[in-house]
């Protein structure tokens, strides 16, 4: 069960490329794991390392202090591609807790929200302004659903209400689903009576 998530303040790490797919976030060859732990070392692996394993000095991810950058500012259509939940596992393990983009892929968002990682969609003007001031700390307040920074007017964002409640309260979604098992059983009985 993820830790509750209320508000987060951090500098943003700008990855302006659009269509950052989950194969970039964690390449498939690292998916032969049976655990969800420790995947941060593979986050953006091929962006960070040469084929022989030496770090690429020019890679932005190798030039930052991860604890200072908990928020990614990514190009359009972030998290597209494979449904692997290893992507948010790797990002969270690396130290990221949120991504801001102009659009975020469905399955990635759904996976992220289950792992205490907040996907935030903003319009292009806000995105451009954030990208122009990467040193300015940004606050993502899930309670008020507002993005705040410096003297700027707060920018509203929305998170699906149930997912938001789950993040704020650390709700156990599997437990929530299990509470509905009597309805599931009734549904199954009703279906069994229908002519096949």
């Amino acid at each position: 069960m993820p830790e509750p998530f209320r508000a987060l303040t951090s500098k943003v790490l700008v990855l302006s490329q659009s269509n950052i797919d989950t194969d970039q976030i964690i390449p498939a060859r690292f998916l032969t794991t049976t655990s969800r732990e420790g995947l941060g070392r593979h986050a953006f692996h091929d962006w960070r390392y040469e084929a022989d394993g030496t770090p690429k000095p020019e890679a932005v991810l190798n030039r930052i202090d991860p604890p200072e950058h908990r928020i990614l500012l990514a190009g359009d259509n972030f998290g597209c591609g494979s449904s692997r939940e290893h992507a948010p596992w790797a990002l969270v393990d690396y130290g990221f807790r949120a991504v801001i983009s102009t659009s975020i892929a469905d399955i990635f968002s759904s996976n992220a929200l289950k792992n205490g990682f907040l996907p935030v969609v903003v319009d292009q003007a806000v995105w451009d302004d954030l990208a122009a001031h990467p040193e300015q700390p940004v606050t993502l307040d899930l309670e008020t659903q507002e993005l705040r920074r410096g003297n700027h007017a707060p920018v509203a964002f929305t998170v699906e209400p149930f997912a938001r409640q789950c993040l704020l309260d650390g709700v156990d979604t599997l437990g929530w689903l299990q509470n509905h098992l009597p309805a599931v059983e009734a549904y199954e009985r009703a279906r069994a009576k229908e002519p096949a």
């Binding site: 194969d23 060859r29 049976t34 091929d46 449904s83 289950k114």
Partner: protein, 471 residues
């Protein structure tokens, strides 16, 4: 009179256990849960940590496909796994299935195959069902008029434990492909044309229904290819209304009802079409007659164009970066660069008609020296059928490698990969940077195009060979 409903509405409505409200999502019942070794171990761990069992093992079917070698065991009897971790992942699924009583198409099974090839083959996938798998290409099954979509591993645990998912209804989009497809244009070309039209994220938030004369004209395998790639436009799922082809294809398959029960089921399946007047949240119409054999030039599946067309000018830094990665130049065709690898297989194009289309091009011809060509059937059933027709001999005589079923070079996690900098023409579904191996450059295309490119050593329009046959 109830208002007209879409195909998606009809399937959705049948599976609502608890309706959604403004504050809470609904609970949706899942008829069929397919499982593979990569996205399931952490889900089994999760339910075991809570002392739970798989609630409906009879609705859960597993296979081994992603981490599995496609070469046979060596003389020592050992399977050539790429790493001990890959082998451990396979053993973890074997152990989890044994513990929970889940059917597994394992190494010794004649049913084993890539999950989205196997499900329909066995008749597990049936019209009107909800089908999920921890895999984004689950949309493949929508070719049968099922609502089929990929889920994350936390949701795999949800379905294992409850047979349900927490869901909100998606928006519905209809993509109508009208007109008659030209010879040499396959389901893959239609898929690449649709994705080029919608854009890589253009389907985000939608379930797509594919309709129109050109879609109807596709065989079930072609329809599966089209639905398979729905996620490459960002869509949750793709669906096609069942028709007589669907019914005929399913008849007699192992898990499909027989006799009178089949007649009743088939009659029900044929009701699963969008009602006249049903309203979609978005509509897109494409003229199928204008579709040509397609190939991608960038590093997203929507960056595709007819083979031989000049690469368009990049409109953003991302597009410039993609062209630089691919080594292609705007304004020039991509048909003059030497191809290093050709891959035929995957859940997109690893079925019998795909292999036939490739073999038709290769028969009596040779793979160009210097090109490595790998043909990986999508399942054991495809392998048996192909070998019964002698297709494997066509491939091996042409100089291609004929392998054991699996995902193989589609995802490059089993040891089959495209080398750094090498250019591949692949019948799989993703051309992302590094998808087929670190530094690999991927052109997505149809099986006929892949085979023609293997012969010529450069990306080639397969109609070149069609015309020679006609002459």
């Amino acid at each position: 009179m109830s208002p007209p409903r879409t195909l998606f509405d009809k399937v959705w409505d049948r599976h609502v256990v608890v309706p959604e409200t403004a504050d809470t999502p609904g609970v949706l019942y899942i008829d069929l849960h397919l499982v593979h070794e990569v996205t399931s171990p952490q889900a089994f761990t999760e339910i075991e940590a809570r002392g739970l069992k798989v609630r409906r093992p009879d609705r859960t079917f597993a296979t081994l496909d992603h981490s599995t070698p496609t070469l046979p065991a060596g003389l020592n009897g050992l399977k050539p796994y790429v790493t001990p971790e890959a082998e451990a992942q396979v053993h973890a699924l074997e152990a989890n299935c044994a513990l929970h009583g889940v059917s597994l198409a394992g190494w010794d099974s004649a049913d084993r195959g890539v999950v989205h090839v196997m499900g329909p083959e066995l008749g597990l996938t049936q019209p009107g069902m909800t089908v999920v798998c921890g895999d984004s290409h689950t949309a493949t099954h929508g070719a049968f008029g099922t609502l089929a979509f990929g889920i994350g591993t936390s949701e795999v645990a949800h379905v294992l434990a409850t047979q349900c998912l927490i869901q909100r209804r998606s928006k519905a989009m209809r993509v109508t492909v009208d007109g008659v497809l030209s010879p040499g244009v396959s389901g893959k070309d239609v898929a690449l044309a649709v994705i080029a039209e919608l854009g890589f994220g253009g389907g985000t938030g939608f379930v797509i229904e594919y309709a129109g004369e050109a879609v109807r004209s596709l065989d079930m395998e072609g329809r599966m290819t089209l639905c398979n790639m729905s996620i490459e436009a960002g869509a949750r799922a793709g669906m096609i209304a069942p028709d007589e082809k669907t019914v005929a294809w399913l008849k007699g398959r192992r898990h499909v009802p027989r006799g009178e029960a089949f007649e009743r089921a088939a009659a029900d399946w044929l009701t699963l079409a969008s009602d006249p007047g049903a309203v979609f949240d978005a509509e897109v119409v494409i003229d199928g007659a204008t579709i040509r054999p397609m190939a991608t030039f960038g590093t997203t599946p929507d960056a595709g164009a007819p083979i031989g067309a000049p690469v368009p000018q990049p409109a953003s830094d991302s597009e410039r970066k993609a062209l630089a990665y691919m080594g292609f130049e705007a304004g020039r065709a991509t048909t003059d660069q030497p191809v290093d690898v050709v891959f035929i297989g995957s859940c997109t194009n690893g079925r019998l008609p795909d292999l036939r289309a490739a073999a038709d091009v290769l028969r009596g011809r040779k793979v160009k020296p210097g090109v490595r060509m790998l043909v990986v059937p999508g399942s054991e059933a495809v392998r048996r059928d192909a070998e019964a027709e002698g297709l494997h001999t066509v491939f091996t005589q042409a100089g291609a490698e004929w392998r054991i079923p699996g995902c193989s070079m589609c995802i490059a996690m089993n040891g089959d990969f495209v080398g750094p900098g090498q250019l591949a023409v692949s019948t799989s579904n993703r051309n992302f940077e590094g998808r087929q191996g670190k530094g690999a450059r991927t052109i997505l295309a149809s099986p006929a195009t892949a085979a023609a490119s293997a012969v010529m050593g450069v990306l080639t329009d397969p109609r070149l060979f069609l015309e020679k046959v006609d002459a």
